[in-house]
């Protein structure tokens, strides 16, 4: 479970207020305009943006004062999820040991994670030799190996075409659900939010952002808050499932 209680995070002049709870194993989408603080929320949970008020906990563990590496979360960025000078297998192996001194058992774990994400046989390649989708698969494989109870997706699939994006989202869900991993995903696409278990709206108010409670997407889009209606525009909300 990810519990964010009256959290205030400060990033430069920007201040984000957030209050939402995502149950264990749920897949929650965060939708809203640019500059509203969606990424800031993920960075604050991961320990990269200071939280100056309220409380954030993951799997019952208060995150206050924890270093990024000690937090029970894995974060996938939009770009630069892999080190360009390391092979795909080494990049994935970093999830087990940052110094890459892997035991035989750990190397086998890496191979299994690569297979599970459809990268069988590509472990020796450099990131430059992979497609965009394959690179993000490798990042997912590493997140899988790190085995943290929460996965934060900061638009890692935004640069992919619609078909590949849907495929990657399905892969992330298929990996997270059986392990009980809670997923919080930033998106600009109403259809992605529509397909999630829960969705939350991120409203931009000048130098501040506000993120309210997460609701089932059908309920959110059927009765959108004023900011969301304006964000989606006259084409309105997608038809509910």
């Amino acid at each position: 479970m990810i519990a964010i209680e009256r959290m205030v995070a400060q990033s430069g002049a920007f201040r984000l207020h957030a209050d939402l709870t995502i149950p264990k194993g749920a897949f929650c989408a965060l939708i809203g305009p640019s500059g509203g603080g969606k990424s800031t929320l993920l960075l604050a949970i991961a320990g990269f943006v200071p939280v100056i008020g309220g409380r954030v906990s993951v799997a019952g563990r208060d995150l206050a004062g924890l270093a990024p590496a000690a937090r029970p979360v894995s974060l996938l960025f939009q770009d630069n999820n892999l080190f360009p000078h390391l092979s795909v297998a080494q990049n994935v192996g970093l999830g087990l040991r940052p110094d890459l001194r892997l035991s035989a058992a750990q190397a086998a774990q890496v191979a299994a994670a690569l297979a599970e994400t459809g990268l069988d046989g590509l472990g020796a390649r450099l990131p430059d030799q992979l497609s965009g989708g394959q690179r993000q698969r490798a990042a997912l494989a590493r997140a899988l190996l790190r085995d943290r109870p929460a996965l934060l997706l900061d638009e890692p699939f935004a640069a992919l075409g619609p078909g590949l994006r849907a495929e990657m989202l399905a892969l992330a869900r298929a990996m997270a659900a059986p392990r009980g991993i809670t997923v919080l995903m930033v998106t600009h696409h109403p259809a992605d939010a529509q397909a999630a278990d829960l969705a939350a709206f991120c409203a931009s108010e000048g130098d501040a952002g506000r993120i309210g409670g997460a609701r089932p997407p059908a309920a959110l889009f059927a009765d959108p808050p004023p900011g969301l209606a304006a964000y989606l525009g006259p084409v309105a909300c997608p038809p509910t499932a």
């Binding site: 991961a46 990024p68 894995s74 960025f77 770009d79 940052p98 110094d99």
Partner: protein
Amino acid sequence: MNGATARSRWPRAGVALPGAAALLLVAALTLGAAAAVALRAEAPGALSAADWRAGWFTVRQAALSALLSVALAVPLARALSRRRFIGRDALARLMGAPFLLPAIVAILGVSAVWGRSGWVSDALAALGLPRLDIYGMPGVLLAHVFFNLPLAARLLLQAYADIPPERWRLAAQLGAEGRALFALVEWPALRAAIPGALAVIFAVCATSFAVALALGGGPRATTLELAIYEAAVYDFDLARAALLAALQFGLCAGAALAALSLAAPLASAPGAARLTERWDGAGPAARAGDALAIMLACLFLGLPLMAVLLKGAPGALSLPGEVWAAAGRSLAVALASAALTLALALPLAALAAALPRRAAAWAEAAGLLPIAASPFVLGIALFIALRPIADPAALALPLTALVNAVMAAPFALRILLPPLRRAHADHGRLADSLGLKGLGRVKILYLPRLRAPLGFAAGLAAALSAGDLGVIALFSRPEAPTLPLLMHLLATSRQLDAAMGAALALIGLSFGLFWLFDRWGRG
């Protein structure tokens, strides 16, 4: 400057003609210089053992200076990239200072700290230890590291700043610290930047004249530039000077080619030190290591500057008339050189920005040609060319301004070209569609983007020319010196207090000119 905006089209005459004229002038001066020294030179067999020693010393001191500067810059750049502290901005500015500091002033400062009667020697003597003797290789290396450590640190800091923030976050998330973090994130970036930094510093040190003149000298510590000077001025052996100049041209061209192909141009003005957001180094050992690196750099860079200020202040209040006259000559040379630099670089940049890609690369390469020559090579060539028709000494000041301008033009070109290209790429088509031409186009499309780089380039050219002690030593008569030459004459005739006073005036002139132009650029 109303050139074509689509890079596939050829530029209009208004851009093409001035650009081509500047290009021809720069190329003719550089290649003409190479040809002049090659024609006038003796056969290579005429090089004496001492000349070969000078060549070998030039390479060795430049290589060692580059290695030392970069090796010391790694811990400094690492510390600066991850620490915020009071005075960080002041240190960043201090790191920009040696670039503008006239070489002869820096040499006085370095001698005042490290020389036989300097502060360090005084401290050693007080402890009963022998005094330092820096003349020869140690002095040359000390002065070169003083100049180039900040440059190396800035190049490496730029490499740090270019690391995507996600990479630091990813490493922090994965728990990579210390050596693991260095291997994972820092070393790949540094490894890419270090060859360029080494090549740039090697190229700078290979043309070192003032440092070798003041701190080297003697048969075992003579650079090629110094050997050219001695052959031309003391032995009046122009054929040997030309041969040495040809050798120097080959060395410089090789080093410049390596530097240009390996090093990224500095993205920011001297002194700018961007801060990287990173999450490592919270432990006491890392903090102590960083503090030590920063403190030692402050002392190494700050003490020579402080020595000049402290020792020059008393004399600065009662500067003799000859200092003011020399300052007037230096000011005239600096202003003429800055104007000429822009007159060469701006049309060249406009042409390169407007040409199709491949032709633009050729134009830019031709504009960068002077880097392959050294001021002395150009100077000797002009000396050889002008002597049959005029007295070079009578033309000392205009020739110095011209050589300095040609040498500064490549730097100005590299400063002006990127913003011009961005202006073309971002708003060139919009300006075309609005029918913006002539002065209107310059005012609306170019000037807003070029004002700051123009000010910066002019400031740089003026400051470097004001502090130049190179070509002027070749041409000038002692009775009409520029300020750096006067300083050198005062220092070598043991009038150290007067030299320190003149040094302060020279610092004021160089930094004042840079500040004025740069401030104009920033609006």
